[in-house]
Symmetry: C2
Subunit: 547 residues, 2 copies
Amino acid sequence: MLSDPFKSHFLFLILSLSLCVSQTLALNSVPEPDASALTYLWPLPSEFTSGNRTLSVDPDLSLAVGGIGGNSAIVRAAFDRYRAIIFKHTSGISIFSRFTGRSSVYDICKLKIIVNSNNEELQLGVDESYTLFVSKNDEKSIIGEATIEANTVYGALRGLETFSQLCSFDYGTKSVQVYKAPWYIRDKPRFAFRGLLLDTSRHYFPIDVIKQIIESMSYAKLNVFHWHIIDEESFPLEVPAYPKLWKGSYTKWERYTVEDAYEIVNFAKVRGINVMAEIDIPGHAESWGTGYPDLWPSTSCREPLDVTKNFTFDVISGILTDMRKIFPFELFHLGGDEVNTDCWSSTPHVKQWLQDRNMTAKDAYKYFVLKAQEIAISKNWTPVNWEETFNTFAENLNPRTVVHNWLGAGVCPKAVAKGFKCIFSNQGFWYLDHLDVPWNEVYTAEPLEGINDTSKQELVLGGEVCMWGETADTSDVQQTIWPRAAAAAERMWSRRDAISTGNITLTALPRLQYFRCLLNRRGVQAAPVTNKYARRPPIGAGSCYEQ
Amino acid sequence: MLSDPFKSHFLFLILSLSLCVSQTLALNSVPEPDASALTYLWPLPSEFTSGNRTLSVDPDLSLAVGGIGGNSAIVRAAFDRYRAIIFKHTSGISIFSRFTGRSSVYDICKLKIIVNSNNEELQLGVDESYTLFVSKNDEKSIIGEATIEANTVYGALRGLETFSQLCSFDYGTKSVQVYKAPWYIRDKPRFAFRGLLLDTSRHYFPIDVIKQIIESMSYAKLNVFHWHIIDEESFPLEVPAYPKLWKGSYTKWERYTVEDAYEIVNFAKVRGINVMAEIDIPGHAESWGTGYPDLWPSTSCREPLDVTKNFTFDVISGILTDMRKIFPFELFHLGGDEVNTDCWSSTPHVKQWLQDRNMTAKDAYKYFVLKAQEIAISKNWTPVNWEETFNTFAENLNPRTVVHNWLGAGVCPKAVAKGFKCIFSNQGFWYLDHLDVPWNEVYTAEPLEGINDTSKQELVLGGEVCMWGETADTSDVQQTIWPRAAAAAERMWSRRDAISTGNITLTALPRLQYFRCLLNRRGVQAAPVTNKYARRPPIGAGSCYEQ
C-alpha cells in the first residue's frame, strides 16, 4: 500500500492530467507559421533558435517553481500578471468550452520557473539573464513543457516577458498558440542600466499613471525609472525633515507622500525596475524656496540655491537622509545641469561671500556640486551628475561619479577615458520631448559610439530616454514615451551586432510595429510608429500593424 | 444568558468599534473648507444641501447592505472598486500607522447601501435615482454614517460615484476627508439615454482599451456605450452564423470574438452601462464583402450592400440573431446614414432589378432600411436609425424608430413632433472628432432646444457624444473623449435650470477642471480643458487644475 504523502502526490498528478486533458478532441488544424517570418520578440534576445511547430497553451496554465529562489512572491505575482495578459481572450472561452464540451489537448500545461538564488536585492548589474525553453517535450507524453531558468528572480521576470511575447491568441482556434516551436532562448542584457526619466515637476503625474508607466517599461525590459521628482516649477514630494518643502507643489493635491514614494519603489521592484531619484541642484530648484525662502539668494533672485548658507546644505542633507530610507538603489542623481550663476554674482551677500573666499561664480558652482556629492556619498550613495559638471571640472569630481550625458555626442568617450562611468542620453536622439526624432534615429543611436577599448566600454553603464514634462502630462505622456522608448530599449538590451546590421526597415520596423500593437493590446497608449512627429494621431483609418 | 446568534452579533459590534477606533488620539486640526467654495461634484446632483463640517473616513471603511437588492454582487464589486479609488493614498499609511501608533478616531467607518429592488435588469429608463446622506450621525456615538439608498443597484452605483467624489485625500492629515458635511443629496438623471459612441472599424481598439473607456464613462455617469462595431474599413466582430464576415478585419489579430463581446457587455453592465450595438447598413458596409463578395453590387462597385439579393437580408438576419444573444439592450442601431446609391444605379443587375420594380434608387434605400427594421423588430429590438432615414421617408419609418440626430440642429424637434423618439448628437457640438469645438460649446448644447411641449420633450431619450475613429486609436482616444464628453454628461444628467444659468466660466469650468484632474488621478488620459483644440498637449508647465 502506498504511503499517504505518496498517495496525495499521485492524486495531484491525476488531477493535473485531468485538468489539462479533459477530453481528447484535439485542435488539429492549427495554421503553420511562415518559416521565413521574423521573430516577433522585442527586444531581440541575445541567442535563440526556433523550429516549425505550433503548440497550444492550456488556459489553465499552472506554475511550477524550482531552485532555492523559485518559491518567491515576486515570481508568483509576476506569473499571475502574465497569465492575465496571455489568456486575456480565453478566460470566457475556457469556462464556455467546459459547458459546451468543446475541449482540447494542450501541448503546454505548465510553466516551470527555476531561480538559482534567493537573493532578491535589486541593484545595478543584478543578473537579468535567463534561458527559456518551450517545446512539446516528449511525443509520448501528453504533458508539454515550458521552462524558464534564471540566476535571480529578475532574470525570471525577463524570461516571463519573453514567454508572454511568444504566446499569441489565435482567433481561428480560439486558443493561445506558440508558433515556431521548439524555442531555445538564452538571453541577457547588453547594458546594466536601461533607463527612462520622468519629470514630475513640470507636470504632476498621479501615482496610478506612474505605475502605468513603470508597468509598460517592464514590457520593453527597461530597468531604471529615473524619477526627476523636483524642478524649479514644483516640489511635489513630502520630506519629513523639512515639512514645508512640499509647499512648493502646484496645489495641495499635486503631491507625493512618503508612502506614495515607497509604493512606487516597491511596485517597480517587483517588476525588476530600480528607482533612481533625483534632486537637481543647485539650479532647477526655485520651488524649494516656496517653503523655505532662505534657500533663495533673495526673493527677487531665486536660483541657484543660496551657496553661502549652511542651511542650504542642511536641507540637502535632510532630504537625502529621508530619501535614503525610501530609495534603496545605489545611484542617486544630483543634477547639476544648466546652472546660471547670475543671481550669485548679483546678490550682495552672495557676491560678498564669493569675494571673501576669492571665488568666482564658477568656483562656487564646483564647490556646491562637490559638497553635495560628499553628502550623498556619506549616505552610501553613488552620485550621478549631468554632464556639465564633468565638462566644467572633471578633475575635481569624485571618481565614483557617474556622468550623465545629454548635451550631445562625444561626452561618454571623454568621461570613460578619464575613468568615469557614464550614462548615454544624447538629446538629439534620446530626449523624448524632441518630437521630430523618428524611431529609426532613436534606434540607431549607440551608447558605445566612439569607444573602442573594451575596458572603457565597460564603464558605459547604459543609457536612458528622457521624458521631460513641459508639454507632457497624464493626457499625452504614454504616447510620447512609446513606441520610441522601445527603440532605445532594444538598442540597450540586444546584441549590438544583431541589431546594427542589415536594413532596419525590414529587420526592426515590422517588429517594432508589432510591439507597439502589443502595448496597445495591453492598454498602453503607444503612438503610431511611422508618424513624422512623435505622439501625433494616426493620419487616417487603418490597421495598427501598418501605422 | 445571550443566545449564540445574539452573542456573535454583539462580538461583531465590539470588533467594529475596536477596528474603527483603535486609539483615541484624534486628528483635530483638520482645515475647514471655504464655505463659499463650489461643490466639486461632476455631474452636479439634482438636489443637495451641504454644511460646514469636515469628517474623516476610516481607511478600513466597511460596507453594510440593506433592502432586498442590497446583497448584490454588483454592489459589492462596485464598493471594492470605489474603495480602491478612495483610499489610493492611505493603504500604506493605514498599515504604517498601526505600527507607529499614529491612529485616529474616524467619523465615517461604514457605508450603508440600501437597494429596494432585486431586479437587476438594465434597460432604457432603469431607475438610476439615489439619495446619499453623509454625516457624523450622532455627537454621542463614535460611529458615523454614510448611507446610499436607491431603488435599483444602478442607482446605488451612481450614488457610489458621488460618494467617491465627496471623499478627498488630505495631504496634511494623510487621511480621507469629506468636506462641507453633512451632505444630503437626492439625485436622478435628466435623460434616460446618455451615450458615448466608439467606432472600432476605422481603428481597432483592444478589449482592455474598450474597458478603460467604459470604466471612465461610469465616472461621468454616462450609461450607454454605443458600439459602432463595423464600418466600411473593417469588420472585426465574429459572427458564428456567417464565419467569413470577420475576414473583413484589418488583420487576424484585430478582431473581437463572441466571448470578447460578452465580456464587454458584462463589464459595462456591472457599471450600469448598456451596450447599444450598431450595424450600419446599407452604406458603410464595404468590409462585409471581404468574406462574402456576393454582398457587393459588384467587385468594382462595393457599396451599398446589394439590395437585390435575399442573401443580403439572410446575412443581416443571421447577424442580428447572433447579436441578440450577446446584446440584451432593447435598442439596436441600424445605421442608415450617408447612403450613396450610385453603385445601385450603375450596376447592371441592380439597375434591372430597380426597373423591374419601377423603383428609384431612393425607393430602394427606403426598402432596404424598412426591411432591416422589420428584421430587428422581429427579434424584439427597437430600431435606432441615423437621421437621414427620417429626413428622407419619415412617414414610412416604423413608429417605434428612434431617430438619431447628427447632421445639425432642428431634427429632434421635427422627429418628436411626428411622435418619434429622438437621440441628440448634433455634430457641431457633440462629435468629439471635431477638435475645434471647445468645452463650453459642448456644455451648452441642449438636447431639448426648440422643443417646448413637455409631452414632446419626453420623447427625447437623451443624447450621445460620438468618437469617430478616423484619427482616433488607442494612442489618443481617451484624450479626445475627455474632458469634453464630461461636459455633455453634465448637460444630460443635471437639472437644466441648474446648469443653464449664470456664468459657466465661474460655475462649471473650475468644476470641470477638477473633474479632469480626478480622471487623471484615476489613470484616465483626459486632456487639458482650456486648450484651443481638443486633445492637444498642455502648452507648458503648470498645474492640472489650471490647464
